[in-house]
Symmetry: C2
Subunit: 502 residues, 2 copies
């Protein structure tokens, strides 16, 4: 990429730029490890000090972004770099991060960080019943978040700047009509889903935790997750967190009356993990390592969970693992039983327990409400009532009490406003990727039946993983799937799921 003579003219700017990116990456990796450890190992008594340590690393990263010396280097490199190459992409991402850091005063970052730690503590105490106890903390956080959004000054309205943190380039003015159209179709579909309460077909048998962990490892290995450079652990809320290359980690959780939950959670998180393991080595310690957005991340987890898993063919493939690990407990259970238990879930108040057909309605609800909160069109004290009304309208379900309402997710308490829509964007991209895979490799049922998980992984490696964050998500997905941004594939998929389960 370097033209002869340029290196000297740049006077070390390139080396400094790469070292600077390396420091930014290393700080992010350290924060990831501190967070991972907090969820998987740290004693509760360490929470306060841990929050301060993490805040310090964020502040150091902020300071690093604002180092004055780096400006000249970026300018010099911009002139010397192939505008279509990876270095130009790095420079664009660097400029974006610097701009955000410049616009948000460090005092506001710290204040928000403290308000977030406080809100999470209050939420943990109050989440089972007491919205009023949580409301002041949330009010404060919404106010600070709006202040931050205004300072960032991106897009057409404050909420755009919040979206931009998780899904760069997406605008509220696109999402509103998108969700409106999606919810109309999905509410109809949801109305047709069987509302009978789910049974507990696997209760009363032995599904020991140690064996479930062995199953998680088998399932992860089955889809190509490299256990030699990865870890699977346990946490209350499953997640994937990888401190750096060569060390990719996810968690799962076990139900003691149902072995299928762990399998699907593992499949979901392994989807994230496969993506991390597929990030290109040559981008290590640059801003192109990792994924371009949470929607891109979620496209992978949901592809593996919802498009490869949650089908009869998948349960047939996993059946031998369950049989060899659980032995007698699997007596009389057929792949059809596993599939039936996980295919269609009756609508309920819970996002975490939602089935595919209703999942995006839960997201639409949260998108509408958080948008109204940020716009000032909804007061925090009116949130529970607004939640119940939306729940009735979108899902035809009654939410009883705060625990079944706005207290069910930690996201807002954790300051993650503008985050929920990325789940639905992930579903959308996952469905498009599944269609594109079928165009290339034939029906997924057949692919699974012939043991072709490696074909699916090779497809993702080639179309998505190897690009790191070289392209913005929407462009990455357009090239990967040959499809424009559209909910068609997702709706077609969900219609099939609803029909199957009817």
């Amino acid at each position: 990429m370097t033209i002869l003579g340029q290196t000297e003219r740049l006077g070390g700017a390139r080396e400094r730029f790469y070292e600077w990116m390396g420091v930014l990456n290393d700080l992010k990796g350290s924060i990831r490890l501190l967070d991972w450890d907090r969820e998987t190992a740290m004693p509760a008594s360490g929470a306060e000090a841990r929050a301060r340590v993490v805040a310090t690393l964020h502040a150091l990263r902020h300071r690093e972004l604002l180092r004055p010396e780096i400006r000249d280097d970026l300018a010099a490199l911009a002139e010397a770099t192939d505008p279509d190459g990876p270095e130009a992409a790095m420079l664009r991402l660097a400029a974006r991060e610097i701009r955000r850091a410049e616009r948000v005063p460090e005092a506001l970052v710290r204040e928000t960080s403290t308000a977030t730690s406080h809100a999470v503590s209050v939420w943990l105490e109050a989440r089972h019943d007491d919205f009023d106890a949580f409301a002041p903390a949330l009010e404060r956080l919404i106010a600070l978040t709006r202040e931050m959004a205004e300072a960032m000054d991106l897009g057409e309205e404050p909420y755009d700047a919040l979206l931009d943190r998780f899904e760069p380039g997406v605008l509220t003015s696109e999402l509103e009509p998108f969700f409106a159209a999606l919810t109309t179709r999905l509410s109809d579909l949801a109305a047709g889903v069987d509302r009978a309460p789910p049974g507990r077909p696997f209760a009363g048998r032995s599904w020991p935790a140690a064996t479930q962990m062995a199953v998680a490892r088998d399932v992860a290995a089955l889809v190509g997750f490299d256990l030699d450079s990865g870890i699977i652990a346990l946490s209350a809320h499953p997640f994937t967190g990888s401190p750096h290359r060569g060390d990719v980690r996810f968690t799962t959780r076990f139900l003691d009356d149902d072995p299928t939950s762990n399998v699907l959670v593992t499949l979901h998180e392994a989807g994230h993990g496969l993506y991390s393991q597929g990030h290109p080595a040559e981008y290590e310690r640059t801003l192109l390592h990792w994924s371009p957005s949470l929607g891109a991340e979620e496209s992978q987890s949901r592809f593996w969970e919802n498009h490869l898993g949650r089908r009869l063919a998948f349960w047939r493939a996993v059946d031998p693992i369950l049989r060899s690990r659980f032995g007698a407990s699997m007596g009389g259970i057929a792949p059809e039983d596993l599939h039936r238990a996980t295919a269609v879930v009756p609508p309920s108040w819970s996002r975490m327990e939602a089935g595919q057909v209703t999942y995006d309605l839960h997201i639409a609800l949260r998108f509408r409400l958080e948008l109204a909160l940020v716009r000032g069109a909804l007061a925090v004290r009116d949130l529970p009532e607004a939640w119940s009304a939306e729940m009735e309208e979108l899902l035809g379900v009654r939410a009883e009490g705060a625990e079944q309402g706005p207290m069910q997710d930690i996201h807002w308490a954790a300051g993650l406003i503008g985050y929920f829509p990325t789940y639905t964007l992930g579903n959308l991209y996952a469905a498009q990727l599944a269609e594109a895979l079928e165009e290339e490799a034939g029906p997924i049922d057949g692919l699974i039946a012939r043991g072709g998980f490696d074909e699916a992984l090779a497809f993702m490696r080639e179309r998505v993983h190897r690009h790191g964050s070289m392209l913005p998500t929407r462009e990455l997905m357009r090239r990967a799937t040959g499809r424009p941004f559209s909910a068609d594939a997702l709706l077609a998929h969900l219609e099939r799921v609803a029909a199957d389960g009817a």
Copy 2:
């Protein structure tokens, strides 16, 4: 501490100083967690990236120490601070850290860090047989270490600066005669120790790992370790590492043919852990949090392991735990058997497996050789031969091959030169503390028999833990024990141990 009106005159210097110490602490805590995770969880494939992340945090800490803005604040505070108070102690420690950072160029720090990672990798490959493969890496590391010592320019000769990293204020010119006198006495004692190879009295019974972990938790709780704010994990080489207040961690290891090893390792590491849990809350995020030196650290681990543990009274106290956890496997085993198996160990080539009577001879050997290496009086290629000669002279033992010689420890590969003497200093202080405890609370055998582990802990909390690093180790120990720096207590203790086992 603040005189009225001063606060304004200081113009925020105090707040900036405390925030700066907080950042230094948070970076150190992050490094501790990255190291902990590397030893207990990280997949091997993450080693290279992890080394870079840790190096980055070290470099950021170095940069933080050299921030020009902090100089004026330190100067302003020095005039406004009670010279006998904790803040003056913080300022002294700050000046010391800054001086070290100033004198060692960042390039040399990075070069040493890289050479260390390389040397550890080579050591891991070569440690079982191949000293020649390791020699070039060690040569390079010794050269860089000497360069660093010269740059630091502390004390009377380069080795002083290396000691100073781990045991501030100790001089080579004191240690040489000290070790010379100690080894004469200890070599005589060692000559009288029974050389019969140890039996395997507990082999052929079941000591399952899960049960050993339960025993480790019971033993830690017995001596007062707070498991609600602590973690016990497993690692190849047991260690204690605590990222911050409220989160104190140590590891143990299990032998499948001997339950006593885990008990003594736990006791040793719990000694470190109790110290960490006892650091004063008011010094959190300052330079006075944690201990003043590794010798102080080791005084605690060795006090619990060698002076409370390794006695018949201790094994009587632990016997009910072992019996309730291991059940039938303890049939026919009396506390006397547990004691006999752990009391006196025949001299051997191994430091890790050494008994109390010979342990400090292993340290004396390493001290002599590393001093000779740093002085240039010994070439790396002559190390194995010099090692064998010293081993014969000090311990009357033949070391066969590199694995039994200089390849048995990771310390030098890890750049820890000047570190070994702190083990013996820890033994010395532990013996003095045990004597002082007996003066206050009567014979330790009686204290244990009446279940008085809490008395011993209260003694340590009061005499040692609550001071943080307010005092230099030697002054801390002089006040804690009422004794001057001397090996008398250690020698008296080891003479009793040798006599018991004869």
